[in-house]
Amino acid sequence: MTSPPDLSRLNARGRWPPPDGPRVAIVGSRRPSPYGEAVAEQLAADLARAGVIVISGLALGCDAAAHRGALSGGGMTIAVMGTGVDIVYPAAHFRLAEEILAAGGALVSQFPNGSLPRRHNFPARNVTMAALSDAVVVVEAVQGSGALITAEAALELHKEVMAVPGSIFSPLSVGTHALIRDGAGLVQNARDILAALGAQQEVLDDPLKATRRLGFELPANRDGLLIHLSDVLTVSAAELARKLHLPISEVLARLTSLELDGAVRRHGAGYVRALRRAKERA
């Protein structure tokens, strides 16, 4: 493992150094399942409400979901970047970076201004993320994922490593399950993370009243199709039609109707049950 840089000499934009308080890194795949994305967002929102500073890497997927969750929870979030702090990568996250700054957060980097995204920057950035945090939570990670580098670095730095379980059918949970098998803390909700941070009981009781359990939004008139859908793995319309012996045109129409109600989501060639978002975005 590359040793972490001198944390007092990081370049930063925004509020830096951050105020005192527990800091948790939420990391995961850049291409998570709908489940992973929802988990990252939900955990970050709940942690932010409990006063935790959420750290992530401003990357696509889980990272962005974590930043967004923290913002919607009204908390401070720090993006640790693999580029100079003056260059937002990926460029599509320009607005997200602005929102982080506007909400009193910070963009930090160990690389000088003007540094472009280079392949070897990111593993070093992952180590920095671990060094800045009190705990690292891995949401979803395939084998060999960059999120696992952060977890490994956290172990070496004697930080808490935690992981979110997933489906045994999902390749995206192979990395997190390996972490749990090797002793990482199991994360089912934000309370698990706060407990691992050694938060006092009163801290745990009060803010967690606000945390909501992950769950499905149940529309008033539930469609029977819903119980055949998963919230982790996508199911195609064709599979549903086959299983239920329904005409495909009817299945498509009902799925679209559910999508319109926000109960299911399209993901690639299939559908998943929509998880309730931390905060319904317009």
Binding site: F169, T234, A238, I248, A253, T256, H267, A269
Partner: protein
């Protein structure tokens, strides 16, 4: 003496009349060819001289001038050979060709009349120009005979033609044989009954066939995208006479008609490789452009496999034909317009490695690469594809069992009925309805309008996307025989789009 014989040269699907004048006069034996002849026509001098000599006719031992009028128009090709030979023969011995007759054909050195491309096109145009009789190569006679009201004289060699003209042994006109119009054996390579699973894609193909909608299939390698696409011709109705004639004309220009069976009733299915050039797909060539694959797919299916691998500019060039159903190409010779009214079926992988979104195998592409790959497809081209469907690999357990879907014949019945409804109502397929006609002809039930509007509000549907869903909903209703578009039709139509390829 002077003799005049008519012929023509082709400019796309139009024929330009050419008057071939031959004059033999006293003087040094020489053969002049004037009248803006391109190299291919100048070479005719040698062919014509040998052909006349070897047919037992005499080539004038005088000063011979052949003029191709109008002299300001550039002439290419070998179809003028026969007219030149006849004019020279008549100039030597005297005699006239019958009124309103024209000659087409290339000559061999032994005097035989050889096949030329585009006889069907020439025959149709010459008929329109007022000609009543056409002398064509025997090999192309059946093709020319398809044109109603034109006497077609099949020519084996120059000697026969000259004898016929001088009142010697007459050549019988080519009748329109039943064989020429015979329906082709209705066997299609693929039948929907052979497809395992893929209910969504099967339904999309049925909707595409019924309404003439363009279709995009996106899925991993081996999901059966190509096989699904090849099932489409089998559920389309056979060509109408006028359509078959259109198809034959384009094929005639390219010299691609089957001898003895010029009319083919099956709809064209063209599947060009993704390395194809702009000229190959759209049409091109020097002088006047020749038709490309999109015109060969006229009234049929153009299948573009691996859509993202096609050159970007080639794909962009599809936009105009997709919109208008024809293509206009300008080359040095001038502009020509070819029909290009086809159903586009495109297939693509969701990402370069192909496995994005597969439940079992992991995609190895970085998000940036996936993004770049999908962006190549998005935008104006995708905007014009009404049906967009994700295809998944069928589980092995499913592949091992007997497929239990409907056969192409069953689906085709529904498609034919739906097409008949559309033609009776509006004279064209739903895919060709422009927004204004859509409003007049495709009434939405109040509930279904509400659904469509709610969707555009929530999901930010573009105006084009709005009309796309409306058109597809109309076809879904037609397949059901419904007068009004119900909610379920709109909802189904909205389902045919890919979230990860921009809508």
């Amino acid at each position: 003496m002077l003799a005049t014989v008519d012929s023509c040269v082709l400019a796309g699907l139009e024929a330009r009349r050419v008057e071939v004048q031959a004059d033999s006069a006293n003087g040094e034996p020489k053969f002049f060819l004037v009248g803006l002849a391109a190299t291919s026509v100048k070479e005719a001098r040698e062919r014509v001289r040998s052909a006349i000599k070897n047919s037992g006719l005499t080539f004038p031992g005088k000063r011979l001038t052949v003029n191709l009028a109008p002299a300001e128009m550039r002439k290419t090709g070998t179809a003028l050979d026969l007219a030149m030979a006849v004019a020279i023969a008549l100039a030597e011995t005297g005699g006239r060709v019958p009124e309103r007759s024209a000659f087409l054909g290339e000559l061999a050195l032994d005097g035989a009349v050889r096949h030329v491309d585009g006889v069907l096109v020439a025959a149709r145009c010459l008929k329109k120009l007022g000609y009543e009789r056409l002398f064509v190569p025997a090999a192309d006679a059946e093709e020319a005979a398809l044109v109603d009201g034109l006497e077609v004289i099949p020519c084996g060699n120059v000697a026969e033609v000259v004898a016929h003209l001088r009142g010697g042994e007459q050549i019988a006109p080519q009748p329109l044989t039943d064989a020429a119009l015979e329906s082709s054996t209705d066997v299609h390579e693929h039948d929907l009954a052979e497809v395992h699973g893929q209910e969504e894609a099967r339904r999309a193909i049925e909707v595409a066939a019924a309404g003439g909608h363009h279709l995009l299939l996106s899925g991993p390698p081996g999901a059966g995208k190509t096989m699904l696409a090849r099932c489409l011709p089998g559920i389309l109705p056979p060509l109408e006479l006028s359509e078959a004639f259109d198809v034959a004309q384009v094929r005639s220009l390219l010299g691609d008609l089957e001898p003895g069976r010029p009319i083919d009733w099956t709809r064209p299915f063209r599947a060009p490789h993704h390395g194809i050039s702009m000229a190959g797909l759209i049409g091109g060539g020097s002088g006047y452009a020749l038709p490309g694959e999109i015109s060969r797919a006229n009234h049929g299916v153009l299948f573009l496999d691996e859509l993202a691998e096609f050159q970007a500019n080639v794909l962009q060039a599809l936009r105009q034909p997709l919109e208008t159903g024809r293509v206009t190409i300008t080359r040095s010779g001038g502009s020509v317009t070819y029909p290009a009214l086809f159903t586009l079926v495109a297939a693509t992988n969701p990402c370069p490695c192909g496995w994005l979104g597969d439940p079992v195998r992991t995609c190895r592409c970085t998000p940036a690469v996936v993004d770049a790959y999908q962006r190549r497809l998005s935008g104006p081209l995708l905007d014009r594809i009404d049906l967009q469907v994700g295809v998944r690999r069928v589980p092995l357990s499913e592949l091992a069992s007997e497929p239990h879907g409907e056969t192409s014949a069953v689906v085709r019945e529904r498609v034919l009925a739906a097409r008949a409804r559309q033609l009776a109502r509006q004279g064209c397929l739903n895919a060709q309805l422009r927004p204004r006609r859509l409003r007049n002809l495709a009434a939405l039930e109040p509930g279904s309008r509400h659904t469509l509007e709610r969707w555009s509000e929530r999901k930010g549907l573009t105006a084009r996307g709005f009309h796309r869903a409306w058109r597809v909903a109309r076809t879904a209703a037609d397949l059901e025989g419904a007068e009004l578009i119900a909610d379920r039709h709109v909802l189904e139509a909205l389902g045919y789009r890919l979230s990860d390829v921009a809508a």
